[in-house]
Amino acid sequence: MDNSEVIISLKGLSFTYHDNKSHRPVLNDLNLQISRGERVGLIGANGSGKTTLFHLLMGLLRQTAGTIEVFGEERRKEKDFREVREKIGLLFQDSDDQLFCPTVAEDVAFGPLNLGNSQEEALAITREVLKRLGLEGFEDRLTYKLSGGEKRLISLATVLAMKPEVLILDEPTTGLDEDTVERLTEILRGSDLTYLIASHNRDFLSKTTDIIYRLGRGKLTSPVS
């Protein structure tokens, strides 16, 4: 790696789900380092904790033990994670969770407006991102009337509109047809972003990432070839 600035560093990360009666440890003393420009894949069985790991990284859940360092600073409180969320974009597993505005333009502009852009700037960003993803003319479409593939790509647009430095994709290919997966692959390969992708689709991961880890029993194991 020619540029080895570490931007995400997880040390001894553990997380346990507390239900009424049971304790279900999901992550157990997990370590991970991601440097700028790295493209990392993550595989693991259903329920192995991929989504949990992402939600910890975004500060949506709090770890039971361990430290999370992002952009050289340790992140503990909600306030620390605000900045993280501005620089790391997370694409959710279910696009219906992500798209909540009535129209596509409003949904894509939601992030930029939260970042303090003016309406005109937000609209300009929206148009630019949609164009980059080959989704021109989608601005006034209603989000709930989009097809599954369109929803996924628009969701990606909503994340990219925030101009993140790191992209986290949670099973982005689930439920997509081959053409849309192909389009997604092209988009990712054409970007210079640092990203982390969880997927069950080995073929997709090998095309889009440089290194693939396996998550199992709460730990990451050495790269899978």
Binding site: M58, P102, E106, M162
Partner: protein, 252 residues
């Protein structure tokens, strides 16, 4: 899903500024709901029929919607004539129907149908999303508008979820009947929908947080009042005030 069924079209009312339509619809409904003079109500009926004609909607669809409204009103007819005090009109067995009761039920029937017709002609001719935006430009509190938007957005998702659960039951040979098994299964279905929507709400909140949400929600669309909007607003306001004066001024 029936949302936005009437919203596509090119009639005068479809093209009218939604803010104008909302203002007129609200005032019209209030006057009709309060009025009890026949002259005023007769004008209102004519007005809402004119609006319906201007909206050029499929009369069959409109009729189907009215059926839904009147299904509730049937219950009023079952009780009101027999429970309202006054002069006896006719009797069924031991029950006496009063003249006042029948008139009262008739008034409610006419009023609700008139209001619903006007609302269909004025409001259903704009997409719900546009109405939401218009409401926000009329200074309706932001929180209420967000509620409206979220409802519109997730009604569809919940409806699909309901369909999926129903299908899952059906493919395992579930036939609804009048028995405990049916009641229990439907209770599970509703319970499951509640839990799923709760979980979904949580995931949506998280997705919003990830995109930097901190309590403020921005709207993008704006409307511009055209000349035809102003003219229509003035005409309709004059008609509604004329209607109101029939109730409160003339014949005093």
């Amino acid at each position: 899903m029936h949302i936005d069924n009437f919203a596509t079209g090119d009639s005068l009312l479809h093209r009218l500024d939604p803010r104008v339509k909302i203002v007129v619809a609200v005032l019209f409904s209030v006057v009709v709901a309060v009025a009890d003079r026949y002259s005023c109500l007769a004008t209102a009926v004519c007005l809402s029929l004119t609006l319906l004609f201007l909206a050029r909607l499929s009369l069959r669809e409109v009729f189907l919607r009215l059926l839904v409204v009147n299904a509730f009103i049937v219950f009023l007819w079952l009780f009101l004539p027999f429970t309202y005090g006054g002069e006896k009109l006719f009797s069924i067995g031991p029950l006496d129907a009063t003249r006042e009761g029948v008139i009262y039920a008739l008034l409610i029937t006419v009023k609700s149908n008139t209001i619903v017709l006007a609302l269909i002609a004025l409001l259903a001719t704009s997409p719900v999303v546009t109405l939401g935006h218009a409401l926000s430009h009329l200074y309706v509190p932001e929180k209420l508008i967000h509620l409206l938007f979220f409802t519109v957005r997730y009604l569809q998702v919940l409806h699909l979820e309901y369909d999926r659960l129903r299908d899952a039951m059906r493919i395992r040979a579930f036939k609804p009947g009048t028995n405990m098994h049916t009641y229990r299964s439907f209770a599970y279905l509703i319970g499951m929908l509640l839990i799923k929507s709760f979980d979904r709400a949580d995931r949506i909140r998280k997705a919003m947080l990830c995109r930097g949400f901190h309590g403020k929600y921005y709207l993008l669309s704006h409307f511009e009042l055209q000349r035809v909007d102003v003219i229509m607003l003035v005409i309709m306001m004059l008609l509604v005030s004329g209607m109101a004066s029939l109730q409160w001024i003339i014949l005093k």
